[in-house]
Symmetry: C2
Subunit: 372 residues, 2 copies
């Protein structure tokens, strides 16, 4: 204050040649009003819903990414924006081939996706690569976060690579991925890959959102199979023995023959398609074109016998019911009265002191008495 | 009235030698009070809870059947009695081998069960045969209702055959069967068969309540497989090619070899058991003893590596959560506000006019606003 007064005093001196300092106002605003205005504007979405939609329909990948970020956000206002975008994109979605790709770590999924992806792009396709990996602790980034995994593909303007949504419940991650498919399709991507690691619960989720499900394997069925979950083989529309190159080629052919004879014992699929076994070398780009041709054949067959469309519709229905069931469960298990009783009831059940159904009933009684 | 008065009059005549008729009371009760008492008593359970439990523990099959009827009843008071009986039987249950048997109609399940069952009984075992067949319209009676199907077995005092509970939701039928297992075990049955038709949704349910899951097949993998659901083969602890007799024997051996090489490509089971493929002729009782020996081997292996007990515990837990989830769903879908909105939302989803998740959200919002 003394300094101010000093200046003030000096200023009034006619001989003063220094900077003119205006008299201060009584209450100085603590925040610059212009900056505040700009700041508040930034908190709002940078784009209006229609701008998002237009950007997506124009194939603008930056806008697409921003919309996907909204889809993945857990904030309610972001979610509302996301739902509005999705709603407006829905009529433009659906016109793609959705391919699920699974296999244990080490089966060579990234190299396969890169090789197959480049093949598709060279043939004029537009490819989006998504992933479901709810268990990943390497998020935000997940299994696909490391862009160096698909160096060539990530440099292509007709490829869009998006890592798995951050770790969360499988239901949540699956929902986000399924909504991202819609946005990618509306943005003009005609091929969607959804990658997953074939060791957890996510294969059923992926299987329920794709047209074709491909299981990537290695030759020498034995140790390599240790990780694969039982039941996945019977979901596959095709098994591909990867790394069929060099000294491994013979073993791959043998494995192919074995899997072929195994698959013919399986019950027929609902699609009318007979699951095939192929070999390929993603590293040397051998057999890749044949696999893509096979997928095209599948699409042609199932579009002709109407399974393709019927399956899409039943998937949409499945996700509606699945989403309802998941949220009913979430609501239940998050209630305080349930949290407090769950552990004890589980313990009683495990010790054969209470029947599973009585334990369930006791918990449900607590829950339902709060419903009008 | 005139007749009565007449008699009355006559009676007072000293010369009257006929039957003496007492003077009537003013208000004749319309129901005999003694009969009413007996009738009301009949409406109550004939046995007290402890009588049920004692009867079951004594191995009284009549009492067991009455208790199972309570389990299967949908009346709330019967359900309460059932739960109390189960609770008291739980400490005595669990000491059996639970075997799931599935296969398409025509695979010869009844003949197999009869042949295997007689083998078990001849070796001193006590066998209960239950079934899960929620789809059956032939109830009450279901696939096992026709006792002639297992003529020999049903005449044995150490065999207890109980048809599938009447048609209802799979969850409901599964619950009833699982509770019936407990009662049968408490009654001293050391082997429980649970039969199901391998074409529906019930195999997963059966698989989740048994120690060993056996898939019954026929030779000539082709047409016979049409009915089997995909995914069942990977659940099986053993595949048995039935009807391996006469001119069919060679084909059965061929099928056995094929399935063996197919199964070795499957991922290993959690139990440490390698699924086997056997042949048998239920009609000529060939190969039956070998299959039973295999089941014993499995039990020995898994009791030694603790999988047996761990699996039982995880099944009990599974059923607690499954029961909760089922009843949450039932409650939701039975609400008026949901019933009225469900069809429209499903239609919008199927026509790509609304996203699966938005439809789910709109329905859930209606539901949750009624919860305190």
């Amino acid at each position: 204050m003394s300094t101010f007064d000093e200046h003030h005093h000096i200023e009034n001196d006619p001989s003063y040649k220094g900077l003119k300092v205006n008299k201060g106002v009584e209450s100085v605003p603590t925040v610059n009003p212009d900056a505040a205005k700009r700041f508040l504007k930034k908190k709002k979405p940078r784009l209006a819903i229609d701008d998002y939609v237009k950007g997506i329909l124009d194939g603008n990948v930056t806008v697409l990414s921003q919309a996907v970020t909204m889809v993945e956000s857990s904030k309610p206002d972001h979610q509302e924006i996301a739902q509005q975008i999705i709603e407006k994109c829905l009529p433009y979605a659906g016109k793609s081939i959705r391919l699920g790709i699974t296999g244990v770590p080490g089966a060579g999924k990234s190299t396969f996706i890169e090789s197959m992806g480049m093949h598709i792009i060279r043939n004029g396709g537009k490819l989006a690569v998504l992933a479901i990996d709810p268990s990943s602790e390497r998020s935000k980034g997940s299994i696909l976060g490391d862009k160096t995994r698909m160096e060539k593909l990530s440099g292509e303007s007709n490829a869009y690579i998006r890592p798995s949504p951050s770790a969360g419940s499988l239901g949540g991650v699956a929902r986000k991925t399924r909504e991202t498919i819609i946005l990618c399709e509306a943005a003009g991507f005609d091929t969607i890959f959804i990658e997953t690691v074939g060791v957890g619960q996510s294969e059923t989720a992926v299987h329920s959102m794709v047209d074709f499900f491909l299981l990537l394997m290695l030759a020498g069925a034995g140790d390599e199979l240790q990780g694969i979950k039982r039941g996945i083989m019977e979901m596959a529309d095709a098994i591909t023995i990867n790394k069929a190159d060099g000294s491994n080629k013979e073993r791959a052919n043998l494995a192919q023959a074995e899997y072929r004879s195994a698959l013919h014992l399986f019950p027929p699929t609902k699609s009318g398609w007979t699951p095939e076994v192929k070999t390929c070398s993603s590293l040397y780009h051998e057999g890749i074109a044949e696999i893509w041709d096979m997928v095209q054949e599948y699409v042609e067959l199932t579009k002709n016998n109407n399974y393709f469309e019927a399956n899409r519709r039943s998937q949409a229905k499945y996700w509606m019911y699945e989403s309802i069931n998941e949220q009913l469960r979430n609501h239940f298990y998050q209630r305080e009265e349930i949290k407090s009783g769950l552990e004890l009831n589980e313990k009683l059940v495990l010790n054969d002191e209470k029947s599973s159904f009585m334990a369930a009933k006791d918990l449900l009684d607590k829950y339902f008495k709060n419903i009008k």
